[in-house]
């Protein structure tokens, strides 16, 4: 691995270590869904839709005390270089699970007993960081659908590349780098809704990376709020 991922403090795509990729967010882009969001994050293209709260079916899954939050993360077969077989794999099942849990943490589910809130996250083009992008888009779609939430969740990853802690990894950095730390928070309280990590970090590096991820989350959160203020009627994939 002689290839340097960071040279003179600048990453291969020209970003500084604490810089986000370009992000574009649009709310209310779909006709049928109760709420929706289109998000571009670097080369990631993500569409999120929300349906509900609606009666949970089949009935035996209903919870008499609260709504069930059912997020599904799905990659289009053409969203990655090697064609992905349609249908859920183990990775997307795990992401769907932690995403559902992270979103459920901010929704006032107790207001809608016996219902289900479906959150559909479709990755149309993937380029690292899709789970954070998906949660971020889903949050906007939930707000667009008028689902009452304690806070508007947001996600962003930090990581470690060439020994340096950096924000928002690219595909190359994720693959060649040393660690990836995706984090989702409730931005007002900074409470952690999702956190996963794989790689190798000292405790000190982790503290630094977490701080960076939180900063990233807050910047993305501003873009979420803007998008909700300016709902477009059409969007460009």
């Amino acid at each position: 691995m002689v290839k340097l991922l960071i040279k003179d403090g600048i990453r291969l795509d020209g970003r500084k270590p604490d810089e986000l990729r370009k992000i574009k967010i649009e709310a209310g882009v779909l006709h049928r869904a109760d709420g929706s969001c289109y998000l571009e994050w670097g080369e990631n293209k993500i569409l999120a839709a929300v349906y509900g709260p609606r009666e949970a079916l089949p009935r035996h899954i209903q919870d008499s005390t609260k709504a069930i939050v059912n997020a599904r993360y799905n990659m289009a077969s053409f969203s990655v270089e090697e064609r992905k077989r349609p249908g859920p794999d183990r990775r997307s099942i795990e992401i769907s699970k932690v995403t559902s849990e992270a979103l459920e943490g901010v929704i006032f589910t107790e207001l809608f007993p016996r219902t289900m809130i479906d959150v559909c996250i479709e990755v149309l083009n993937a380029e690292a960081g899709t789970r954070c992008a998906g949660i971020t888009a889903a949050a906007v779609a939930l707000a667009d659908a008028g689902i009452p939430m304690k806070d508007l969740p947001v996600a962003c990853a930090a990581g470690k590349v060439d020994g340096t802690v950096v924000l928002d990894l690219t595909s190359g950095e994720d693959k060649e780098g040393e660690a990836d730390l995706p984090v989702a928070i409730a931005p007002r309280t900074e409470e952690i809704l999702l956190m996963q990590m794989d790689g190798h970090m000292t405790y000190k590096e982790f503290e630094e990376a977490l701080e960076l991820a939180l900063k990233g989350c807050k910047k993305v959160h501003e873009l979420q709020r803007e998008a909700l203020l300016n709902k477009y009627k059409d969007f460009e994939v």
Partner: protein, 261 residues
């Protein structure tokens, strides 16, 4: 059994649409023989070998093309292969569900596939890498994003547009430079539905929901027929079928222009 996916329409709505139909009117004010606005955008997915987003009214479909190297069929050792599949994800409509493809999604994909295959749109004979060993397999994946009626035409159009600008990813496999996917002239598909003895082209969501019979025809550049599919439990008379085909010829010409822009 096979149409449990069909959304239930309230009796009141059904009556209202029937009354409109009797006056020759459609719920969105169109003429019986009028398409909604069509919009095609190509090359929208970086990781796909070809892609297109098509909107017909508020129906939106994304087609992505991927090419993989595989073995040829024993009876055509010199030819590539193609495979078409359609996903109707819950994102696109409250009636869609996760799971393996439904009969409706399979019918949709197979009708789109036949239009492309029978018009020899993809030049499969130019997709052989090594005779009997390795050929390109073209995967056409149709991803419905917003369902507001007439998926047959939207999917067919998106597939045609996505193939138009697709490349063969030779570089990814270290077998030369990337090149354009060799294609001929695309098929164009027109779909009609019949309800209350009223036949309309390009059904919107409500018309799809109450349709008694459906008819799709795929035409080539000469207006010749390459594929047809009658669906649903209602029937057409022979004259109605013929009339549909003749109406389709005119629509296909217009749609073909959009595709060639």
């Amino acid at each position: 059994m096979w149409d449990t996916e069909v959304k239930r329409v309230s009796a009141v709505k059904r009556d209202y649409l029937a009354r409109l139909a009797k006056e020759g009117k459609r719920p969105d004010g169109r003429e019986a023989d009028e398409y909604r606005p069509i919009k095609i955008e190509k090359n929208v997915i970086k990781n796909a070998e070809g892609s297109a987003r098509v909107k017909i009214g508020d129906t939106m479909v994304l087609a992505g093309i991927k090419l993989e190297i595989g073995e040829p069929y024993p009876d055509s050792p010199n030819e590539g292969a193609m495979s078409t599949s359609a996903e109707l994800p819950p994102l696109a409509s409250p009636e869609f569900e996760y799971g393996p493809p439904t009969p409706s999604a399979i019918e949709l994909a197979r009708v789109v596939d036949r239009g492309i295959r029978e018009s020899k749109y993809i030049k499969l004979d130019k997709l052989c890498i090594e005779e009997g060993k390795e050929v390109w397999i073209v995967f056409i994946d149709l991803h419905v994003l917003d369902y507001d009626g007439n998926l047959f035409d939207a999917c067919s159009l998106a597939a045609s547009a996505a193939l138009q600008n697709a490349i063969i990813p030779n570089e990814r496999h270290d077998i030369g430079k990337n090149e354009s996917l060799p294609v001929g002239s695309p098929p164009v598909s027109c779909t009609f539905v019949k309800y209350e003895d009223f036949i309309v082209v390009d059904p919107c969501l409500e018309e799809d929901a109450i349709a008694q019979a459906r008819f799709t025809v795929a035409l080539d550049e000469n207006g010749d027929i390459r594929a047809m599919q009658k669906g649903l439990s209602g029937s057409f008379t022979v004259d109605e079928i013929k009339n549909n085909i003749n109406r389709a010829k005119i629509h296909a010409k217009n749609i073909r222009k959009l595709l060639e822009e």
